[in-house]
Each structure stands twice: as C-alpha cells, then as structure tokens.
C-alpha cells in the first residue's frame, strides 16, 4: 500500500513538468473559454519563443553545473548595437549577424574570465550582467531605441503560415536538441556536468567544453533578444532585465537540474518556458487581480525548486536501494 503511494509519487516527480503544464492548461481552460483556443496557443508560443530560446542556451550552461546571469544584458547589448546600426542605415541582415556576433563575443568573454582566471561563473556573469547593462545604457544614452518598421515586420512575418518567432524557436530547439543528444560534444557536456574532474581524467577537453557552453548560451541569448526586439519594435533601457531568472526558472521547470548533468532542451526546457508563459497569459485572460501575479508566479517558482530538490533526493535514494536489489 505504502509502496503504491510512493511509486505514484515517484512517477509524479519524474513527470512533474508535464503535470504542472497540464494543471495550468486545464485550470485556465476551465476558467476562460478564450484561453482554450488555437489563436491563444499560437500567441503563447510566440510570446514564449524569446524566453525559450534564451532558456535553451541556459540549459547548456546548467548542464555543466554552471550558471549564466548575464543573458539579460547580452540581449540588451546585442539589441542596442543592432538597433543603432539599423538606425544608421545598415541592412537588416547584417545587423542580425552582428547581434549573433555580439552574443558569441559576450559568451566568450564570460568563458575567458571563468576559465583563464578561474573565477566562479556566478561571480563572473554577475559582474558582466552589470557591465553589459552599463555599456548598453552608455551606447543608447539611456534612451529607448525605436526600431524601424522593417524590423517590426520580421516579427509579424510568416513563413508557410508559421509566424517567424515560432520558426526561429523551432530551429534553435531542434539544433540544440540534436547537438545534445546526437553529437560527441553534447554527450560530453553531460559528463562534465556530472563531474568535471572525472571528465578530465577520462581525457575530455573540459575547458573547451565549458568555453563552448558559455558561447552557446551567449549566442542563444542574442537570438532570443532578436526575436523579442522584432516583436517589441523598441528597446527600452530595461530590455532583457530579469531574463536570467526567467530562463533559469524555465530550464529547471523543464527538469534541468541545478546540480548539473541532468536535463534536456526538448521537451524539457521548451515545455518549461511555455508553462511560464501560459501562466502569465492565463492570468491576463481571466483578468486576475494585478497583485496576484507575483504571488502566483512566485509560488510556481518555489514549487519548481522544491521539485528539483525532491528529484535530487529521490535519485540518491534509488541509488542506495539498487545496491540491494
């Protein structure tokens, strides 16, 4: 009897991502008919795309038991640079390439501080969070940069009837998923996340792998920023701030462990990001009291972290029992 319950509990833990997602989906669908509509699902997907892309990059970093707090600033700096360029007549294509370039460069900067100077990722990326924000403010004179019409038009463009942000999201998630599951590099990321020292002993180029994940994260953050910009049509001085927390929340909600070595982009992180966005969307659609938003979002994040630590404990317990079986 007791084991039945605990087994059910374990099942629930293993699939907590989907369970939480379903609860949110069902609750809001019952509360409001508008929520359960194709158009709304597409909206949620579009709105979640930027977050999901940033969280995808974050997943790589979290898998190595690292953290990147600077993603919001990467979005901002990349956005300001490209916005300024487009403003002064550079073509859209070039600007987009520059955005990605800025993201990669930023990630490289993080990685170099972390692995050349051996500063822990938390501190390095915390510092670059503020440096980046400051640099972006300096570049933009703390003024909102309004983007030209053609920038906004990519945001609402469609390819084969599919909105542009969803296409970008699809491409990023697919590539990331394949890299993590089908390439040598991807599998080595998991090994490094489990135990960096063991990975070194196993002959893996640990530094190169760690360097790569921060570059990938920077690149994803820049692309995520681009997708957000194309929808917003403007970059305010607060653009991207707090994205790091939402991205980490999305990844962890999707089953990625803060302890490293566990997690996946698809479906995990993608579902995590969609869940968070569906929650926000649902609250607006049912016109909830504005004071409820932080309460509910906070509770969900608390729940996520709780589940992560339960999962972690459960794994340790299972390992012990395996010895006997």
């Amino acid at each position: 009897m007791k084991t039945d319950i605990s087994q059910a509990g374990n099942k629930l833990l293993d699939h907590s991502t989907i369970v939480l997602f379903s609860i949110i989906l069902i609750t809001f669908s019952v509360l409001s008919p508008q929520f359960f509509s194709l158009q709304n699902f597409i909206n949620v997907l579009i709105q979640a795309s930027s977050l999901a892309i940033v969280a995808t990059g974050m997943t790589f970093v979290l898998l190595t038991a690292g953290i990147d707090l600077s993603v919001g600033s990467i979005m901002f700096v990349a956005g300001v640079v490209s916005g300024k360029m487009v403003d002064s007549g550079t073509s859209l294509g070039v600007a987009c390439l520059v955005v990605v370039g800025v993201g990669i460069g930023y990630g490289l900067l993080n990685a170099i501080f972390i692995y050349r100077f051996k500063v822990i990722p938390f501190i390095v990326t915390l510092a670059t969070l503020y440096v980046g924000r400051g640099f972006g403010l300096y570049l933009s004179d703390t003024r909102a940069i309004n983007l030209p019409e053609n920038f906004l038009s990519i945001g609402s463009a469609r390819l084969l009837g599919i909105p542009f942000p969803i296409i970008v999201l699809g491409v990023v998630v697919t590539v990331a998923h394949l890299v993590l599951t089908r390439t040598v590099f991807g599998r080595q990321v998991y090994a490094v996340g489990n135990h960096a020292e063991k990975a070194r002993k196993a002959g893996l180029k640990v530094n190169r792998i760690l360097l790569s994940v921060y570059v990938i994260c920077g690149c994803c953050a820049a692309i995520g920023g681009l997708v957000a910009m194309a929808q917003l049509g403007a970059i305010s001085p607060s653009f991207g701030s707090q994205s790091e927390f939402m991205a980490i929340a999305a990844a962890v909600l999707g089953g990625t462990s803060l302890f490293g070595g566990k997690g996946q982009v698809f479906p995990g992180t993608l579902i995590g990001a969609i869940t968070i966005q569906a929650l926000q969307s649902g609250l607006v659609i049912v016109n909830a009291d504005p004071y409820l938003y932080p309460l509910i979002t906070g509770s969900v994040i608390f729940l996520i972290v709780l589940i992560d630590s339960f999962r972690h404990k459960e794994q340790i317990r299972r390992r012990r029992i395996k010895k006997v079986a």
């Binding site: 510092a127 403007a234 707090q242 659609i285």
Partner: protein, 335 residues
C-alpha cells in the same frame, strides 16, 4: 518576481560597490558663489536623464555651480555621495532618492550640516526634519488625462471597453496612476467598462505579452491607458498585430492615453495616433527645486511640498503646449 528582485538588489549592491568604485563626480562652469549638489538614484530611464538635464539647465540659468553624482540604484552609495557633497561644503542639495525610506538618513545628515535639501520626484516615508519635496501629482494628472479621454469617448456616442497597463505595484507612482485611472472612468459608467488590467512590472516584454493576451480575451477593447509612455512601443506592436493601430478619425481607432510626456508619446501625438498624454512638467519641477534652494539660502520661507500640477497634452493643445513637454525636446527617431 518580487523575490528575484530582492536577490538582484542585494547582489546589485555588492557588485555596484565594486564597479562604481570611482565616483561619477564632475564639476561644471561659471560662478555666483553658490554651488549645489545633484544626486540621482539612477539614469536608467529617459525621464531621469531629461530631469537631470533640466536641473543642470536651471542651475546654469541662475549662474549656479553644481556637482553631480549618480548612485546607480544603490542607496548606500547615494548616502555616501551626499555626505561627500556636505564635506565639500555645497550650498544646497537636490536629490532624486532611491526610495522613500533610504532618504530619511540623508535628510538628517543635510539638516545637521544646515544645508537646504530638496527631494525630487519621491515623497519621503516619514515627515521628519527640514526639507522641501517637489513631486508631480501622479493621481491628479492621470485622472485629468483619463477624464479627457472619457470626454472624447462620450462625444463619440459609443460605449467603450477599457484596458489599463499597470506599472510595478511596488512603486507608489504606479499605484497612484492606477487609482487616478479607476476614479476617472468611474465617473463615466455608462460609457466606459473596464475589462482588463495588465500588470507590466515596468517590463516591455511583459507588456507586449500582456496586451496581446488581453486583446485575445477581449477583442473589442477600444480604450487603452498606459501607466507610462515607455511601454508604448510594446502597446503599439501588439495593437498592430491585432490590426487595431490606426490614426484618430479612422473607424478602427482605439482611444489611447499615456503618462510621462516622453519622446515616443510626442511623436505619436504629432502623427495623430495618441489622444491624450499626462505630462509631468519637468521644467517647472526642476526650476522650482533650484528656486527653493536659493530661497532657503536667503532665509525666505518656502512651501515644504511643491506639487507639480502637470498638464494634459492632447490634439487640441499640442501646438501651444509642445515646448513644455520634455519629450518634445529630445531627439528620438520616429517609430
């Protein structure tokens, strides 16, 4: 997200102390023998930038020297910067404080040194000590702006479904603007029905998503007030996607109102998309702040609370009032 905010604030303090180790102190030209210190919590919004520029301009008009310092969101840093002003013997201090509580010790320090202090844009949490506050009447300005919109609505003979974009509810200004909005539409129950309140936490992405979702849930929304002009790009973007962004006079035009008076709002007024905007009279406030210091210096009586009545700018008074609108005087590209 409040939790995260707190974490980020605490981290911010640690890191900023490192990053901002070098002070941003700087000196400016001529002399009348009077020097004031200008301390700003942050320059992270256009509004703050316009304000500090206006104060400096007011100083220059009066031939006053000034020192400026920016605390980058760090209350301790701001306190030190003010102490620095005091030890350098300034004749007055104008401060845009980090928040309503951390300003109290700053006031005490200035009072001990017998240096007049003017608090810009935020009311201190306790009424203690000797100081002058210059604030815009967020509630009143919003109420008048929304009332203006409601009159337009009433004149059209239609009924309206209204939406408001709310700011960070931890910010008293955001709360007052929400209250002003609610009280104004309550005067027109037969014309306006409030169907959506979208919290934005002063975040553009949240605003975009929130507006999109609210329009999804209530496709007939045709009356929108944004608690700050800086959310307009998000609002406009969402409206365009829903085919609801059309100039005044178009049959699908949505009544739009905002608050602040920034450059984007000015352009939208000029282009005929925005119906009304509540403007904080930055020039009035800054001139009043500098005047208050001069008067205090000469021992003349000054009101403890200087309220900026602000004004509502709309299509009918655009030409006469534009030069008072701070956003009309900074260059920002057209959206």
């Amino acid at each position: 997200m409040k939790v995260n905010n707190n974490i980020s604030l605490r981290l911010k303090r640690t890191v900023l102390t490192l990053l901002m180790a070098g002070s941003l102190l700087r000196c400016a030209p001529p002399d009348t023998g009077v020097t004031i210190g200008i301390s700003f919590e942050t320059l992270q919004t256009e509004y703050w930038v316009a304000s500090i520029e206006a104060i400096k301009a007011a100083c220059e008009d009066n031939n006053i020297q000034y020192l400026e310092a920016v605390a980058n969101g760090d209350a301790n840093r701001q306190f030190e910067q003010v102490n620095n002003f005091i030890s350098r013997g300034v004749d007055g201090i104008v401060i845009a404080p980090k928040d309503a509580h951390t300003i109290i010790p700053v006031i005490k320090a200035a009072n001990r040194a017998h240096i007049p202090i003017v608090i810009y844009n935020r009311l201190p949490a306790q009424n203690q000590g000797d100081y002058v506050t210059v604030v815009a009447d967020n509630y009143e300005i919003t109420k008048r702006t929304v009332r203006n919109m409601c009159e337009l609505a009433k004149a059209s003979g239609q009924t309206y479904q209204a939406m408001i974009l709310i700011g960070d509810l931890g910010d008293i200004n955001a709360v007052n603007r929400r209250k002003g909005f609610n009280d104004a539409i309550a005067e027109y129950p037969e014309v306006i029905e409030l169907v959506a309140e979208v919290p934005t936490e002063w975040n553009q992405e949240k605003a975009l998503a929130g507006v999109t979702n609210a329009l999804q849930a209530n496709p007939d929304i045709n009356f929108i007030f944004s608690s700050s002009d800086f959310l307009f790009p998000s609002l406009v973007s969402a409206l365009k996607n829903a085919d609801k962004y059309h100039p005044i006079g178009h049959e699908k035009h949505v009544l739009l109102g905002g608050f602040d008076g920034d450059a984007t709002a000015y352009q939208m007024l000029v282009n005929g998309y925005l119906d009304a905007d509540g403007v904080q009279d930055v020039y009035y406030e800054c001139a009043a702040a500098v005047q208050a210091i001069l008067k205090k210096q000469q021992g003349e009586p000054v009101d403890e609370l200087i309220i900026d009545p602000g004004f509502v700018i709309h299509q009918d008074n655009l030409d006469e009032r534009a030069d008072k609108m701070w956003g009309a005087n900074i260059s920002t590209p057209t959206p």
